[in-house]
Symmetry: C2
Subunit: 427 residues, 2 copies
Amino acid sequence: MTASSLPHVVIVGAGFGGLRAARRFSRLPVQVTLIDRQNYHLFQPLLYQVATAGVSAGEIAYPVRAVLRRQRNARFLLAEVTDLDLSNRRLLTTAGEVRYDVLILAMGGQTNFFGNATLARHALTLKTLQDAERIRDHVLRLFEHASRESNVEKRRAMLTFAVAGGGPSGVEMAGALSELIHGVLKRDFPGFDLSIARVILLEAADRLLPAMPPALQQATLQALHAKGVEVWLNAPVESYDGTLIRLKDGRQIPSRTLIWVTGIRAAGLAERIPAPRASNGRIRVQPTLQVPGYPEVFVIGDAAYLEDEHGNPLPMVAPVALQQADWAVANVQCLLEGKPLLPFRYRDPGMMATIGRNQAVARLGRFRLRGFLAWLMWVVVHIFQLIGFRNRLAVMLNWAWDYFLYDRALRLIEHPEEKPEERQLLV
Amino acid sequence: MTASSLPHVVIVGAGFGGLRAARRFSRLPVQVTLIDRQNYHLFQPLLYQVATAGVSAGEIAYPVRAVLRRQRNARFLLAEVTDLDLSNRRLLTTAGEVRYDVLILAMGGQTNFFGNATLARHALTLKTLQDAERIRDHVLRLFEHASRESNVEKRRAMLTFAVAGGGPSGVEMAGALSELIHGVLKRDFPGFDLSIARVILLEAADRLLPAMPPALQQATLQALHAKGVEVWLNAPVESYDGTLIRLKDGRQIPSRTLIWVTGIRAAGLAERIPAPRASNGRIRVQPTLQVPGYPEVFVIGDAAYLEDEHGNPLPMVAPVALQQADWAVANVQCLLEGKPLLPFRYRDPGMMATIGRNQAVARLGRFRLRGFLAWLMWVVVHIFQLIGFRNRLAVMLNWAWDYFLYDRALRLIEHPEEKPEERQLLV
């Protein structure tokens, strides 16, 4: 059997799900093409660390080609998928047409502004490396501007940092931001009164970390307070114009920074698939992860919508994507061998969120952890998962340095200032 | 004596000269303001490593505020100087007007295209972090494009990388680029024939490294050949349109890449100074480093023009800037104390250039070194000079990894493709 006669499996997206699936195919008699518009896999759980100058971009990104280098049946294509033609089993990409026998869509999610154009235009997001570096540059630049601003109201608005979203990303972002300000920048600006600097975490619902048990929600609140973060519950955002945040209840916050980490929706490509979609644009796949009517097309990760046995939607998190990747590969094998496919079953490994330098909360099965021990576990789990030994070493070194000396050498403003009009609009 | 009654010394530029001068003032009764348009000091000798995915941006850049943190008489201002008003002892900056009693101009150099607009538009430069990341993204992207290009002539042009300039920067860039291609990318693109890939070093004169003794020039040529770099001597560039390099003698090289590291001229700000200028726009300072007619204004580093005792211009290199910084600070002290100022004398510490992973040439006084020993010395000297212990550790780790495993984890394409029209024009 020649290579060209093997079934051609095309995987769209080199995130957690797509990359895992590609590697899982290594010993199967298929030819794999992995497509991504970036040439690297991004370790998204640590993006907030890049945004707060804790680690550098290179430490949480790893070239896809380096991962696939030894896998003889896989190739990588740097391209953006522009359209799908499922009837003819082909993709249109910026690098031309790609035909497939089996397609696995793992294109992930994008920030969800719930149709709010003011947020799409003015809020900062945290989905890509560029997003994270933009937040870092923006925050550091505001400190430089504020340090020479004589008008106290303007200075106050420059030093008010709002984070919208009380999930793990929002909690992590707010905690790390507060530590950057009160631990590091305070010493960088010795003559400058930083007591007016505020970090406000805005959450629309009445509690943080909804997937956590109430005791850990309470612990998170306390830990954030201790770090100087103001937590506003029942505070849904109505609009933002770049200088003033308006809440739905009429409250207003003058602020030059709103970091929007509250919503994820399926990537735009999902709209091109002729299948029913759930809230957030996710594709309602069959329990086998197949697209209804197209047995050779699978969707995994953030782009796929499935419910657990209690009727709750599966969360848009890495463990779901990884498990679905394994499952999809197994089902592709069944499909190629003419065996019946099996329905996906999610095994919830638990949930963790860090709250700065030495605090975290974790739920693992029946166990609940908090404080330093939870933080230590979070560090070990995340460093262990980082692809590439060098990355692990570099991140560990950075964190050890950070932890013991409480400094952040990475607070560089790397990119020129940009006007909001120059930003891409993704409503 | 209150702080405000101390003489105000303003230093423009946080490169080697400016930063050294700022630190040297720490124990003198002056108030120092250091101005730079970046918030970091850049270790320029390693820029070519960022451009060839060897080290990351954060490893060769260090926040100015972190350097000055413990220096009570210094403050940092993130701003660009837009004009000088020497008669009234004031600067105009993007952060407003700044008045001074003593001014030290250390704004450095910029790429010199010698008035050639086609080069300014289409050639890549290597002066800033953004330049280096642009080269890295460009080279990696060309490999991605070439790997799926069916037309062999186009593929050949995509994989022909020209470096113009046979000084240390050009030699280092060409050597590292060849190693990136033949050592690392070859393994990233397993099914792709890279034998057509070429690195061509173009030098207008008849030899490389003109400041080196002939034996080391010869050794450099041999080492470059061994690494697969083609060296073209007597090959001045006439023009470049983004796809075709024309030499003055009529030869043509179809290439998508021309990295221009052959000329440095004084930064644009030098033109605003009412003083005679030498070639390359450098200001002809008095032997005391003062601007004629303005005893309170000093110029150091690449922006200053002085000749040695043989009538040769001092080179635009870091050791000159560092020694002039020390000298300027001493002369400012003389000026403030009413003592006579002393003429600058340059003590040449020698010169080094690396040619890839394990080759270098060095001239130190009467000593000449080449091969692995010279390379080891180059590594030690450069890591030792890196500001910040963390940076030293990180770079050492990266290099050790690189050296022993011959991999480069940093080959990320971070920034979106850009059109040449979007680039700034600096002829």
